[in-house]
Amino acid sequence: MKKNFEFIAALAFLGVVGIAAIAGLPGNILNLLIFMMIIALTAQGWNVLGGYGGLSSFGHAAFFGTGAYTTTILQTSFGINAWVGLVCGVILGAAVGAMIGFLSFRAGLKGSYFALITLAFAEVLRILANSWDFTGGAAGMMVSINNGFAYLQFSDRRWFLLILIGFVAGGLLLTRWLERSAFGAYLIALRENDQAAQALGVDIFKIKMQAITLSAAITALAGCLYVQNFLFIDANVAYGSWISIEALFAAIVGGAGTMLGPLIGSVLLLGLGEITKSFSGGIAGVDLVVFGIILILCVAFAPNGIRGFVADLWYRRKSRGKAM
């Protein structure tokens, strides 16, 4: 019941944002919302593997960047349609996920070892993208401006926000399915105790492979959409550790392994970051200080993220109500 309530509340929130956008929002708010949705989608991807599967990746940039570069290269060098590019980006991102997963899960890596190996893969890709010609080297690549649905670019940015809202809602739907399905139960089981999971017939290698592939695909999708919005990409943006950190940070602060966590985390973090920036009078990096404080507060008081914290409060209030 409660899960249903959360799902509907999240959809309602997205709906309100969408309607507000159509009704008319200032351009800077629109930009912020677009960025929030891109990060939310990236974090939804991270959440599948890191939240539900307990395999914390520090290198989701590898998937984000692969998605972004794939669609950019296909569009600029081969003149391929943006939507086809997006699909190819997702597929290639998933393939990179499967490859990294195969190498690390076959070796039985988990915990900090898995985090480090994913970080290493993302860094290798960053360095390669920075030096290869076909990724534009250090100069990066630009997607030429062509407005229209077929190009997945819009002169009116509200349309782009609506498409993003659609994808984030899709991410919610996917997570909701995950929480009920056999796959999700197996994924959580191996997070909690992989030996016990094996004893119950769970092929943990297969489940981990499926999880990292799905996780990578979602994050690669976010990478593709990022490019369609900013129309520019270079190695430090696509494969930089900033996006790996945004992904895990949003999911963890919001509530890793919960349906709402990534969305709550990205809205809250980016929202607070933006508010601080506007009040601090342009002191560079002050929003990062706020991020740091939020992280410390979360670790100290809300180890299950904002979603867990609120759920605890809710439960306590209800049980107190019953007692009285």
Partner: protein
């Protein structure tokens, strides 16, 4: 049904299990006893596939499964519980058991229905919505049992499911184990509680220092010289016999 023949397991210098053989007949409850550190759990781990033996074979329903991974053995109908309980702490009781039930159905509603039924069978029916981390030790032992049962095993390996329970809890669990056997599940159990072993088991194997030193009906095994000495030390059997004679 299960034939584990000449199993040997070495941990570098330590010979944990030394050429041990165990046969479990279909429909039986077979016990495995032995002093602490005898290698019982290691032997179990080899049968369930969590450790691979240095020598010997494991045959289940006439098929050699020695090198097979644990999850494939589970699909064949070989389920185990853990001596140190291993609940999925973040899941509630129903979903814990459903993980086992998903082995035979991919339908979430059906798996949770089966989980509910299984929970009722082991007496967890009123704790379905509790998080596994909130269960007592007795509850967690029942949960181990329920989860294994939900995979619909043909052979159930129970690693000290009664350890840590108080006498009244043990009295509650014994009929459950008997009931499981009545439903056609063969059971191999490691147990220290002799009351339970005498009560339940058709055959008992005794492992000591990695070697199988005796097997047979529980009553006969208990009077076996080698068994008494394994538990009580060298010469104990003779002393007990002498004392028995003096009393007579």
């Amino acid at each position: 049904m299960l034939k584990a023949h000449n199993l040997t397991k070495r941990f570098s210098g330590l010979l944990a299990v030394d050429d041990a053989t165990i046969d479990v007949a279909e429909g039986s409850i077979t016990g495995l006893i032995g002093p602490n550190g005898a290698g019982k759990t290691t032997l179990f781990a080899m049968i369930a596939g969590f450790l691979s033996p240095n020598a010997g074979t494991v045959t289940f329903q006439n098929e050699d499964i020695t090198g097979e991974k644990p999850h494939l053995r589970a699909r064949r109908g070989l389920a185990r519980t853990f001596q140190i309980v291993q609940p999925f702490a973040g899941l509630d009781v129903r979903d814990n058991i459903a993980v086992g039930a998903f082995l035979h159905t991919k339908d979430p509603a059906e798996a949770r229905r089966l989980a509910t039924l299984t929970a009722e069978k082991v007496g967890l029916g009123h704790e379905l919505d509790k998080l596994a981390s909130g269960l007592t030790i007795a509850g967690r032992k029942r949960l181990e049992l329920a989860r294994a049962l939900a995979t619909k095993p043909k052979l159930l390996l129970l690693d000290e499911v009664l350890a840590g329970l108080n006498p009244s809890e043990i009295r509650d669990v014994l009929p459950i184990i008997r009931q499981i056997r009545e439903e056609g599940v063969t059971i191999l159990m490691i147990e220290h509680i002799m009351q339970a072993v005498m009560n339940l088991c058709d055959t008992v194997y005794v492992l000591s220092q990695g070697k199988m030193i005796a097997s047979g009906e529980p009553r006969l095994v208990c009077t076996d010289t080698a068994v008494i000495e394994a538990y009580l030390g060298h010469g104990a059997a003779a002393r007990i016999k002498a004392e028995g004679a003096a009393h007579a």
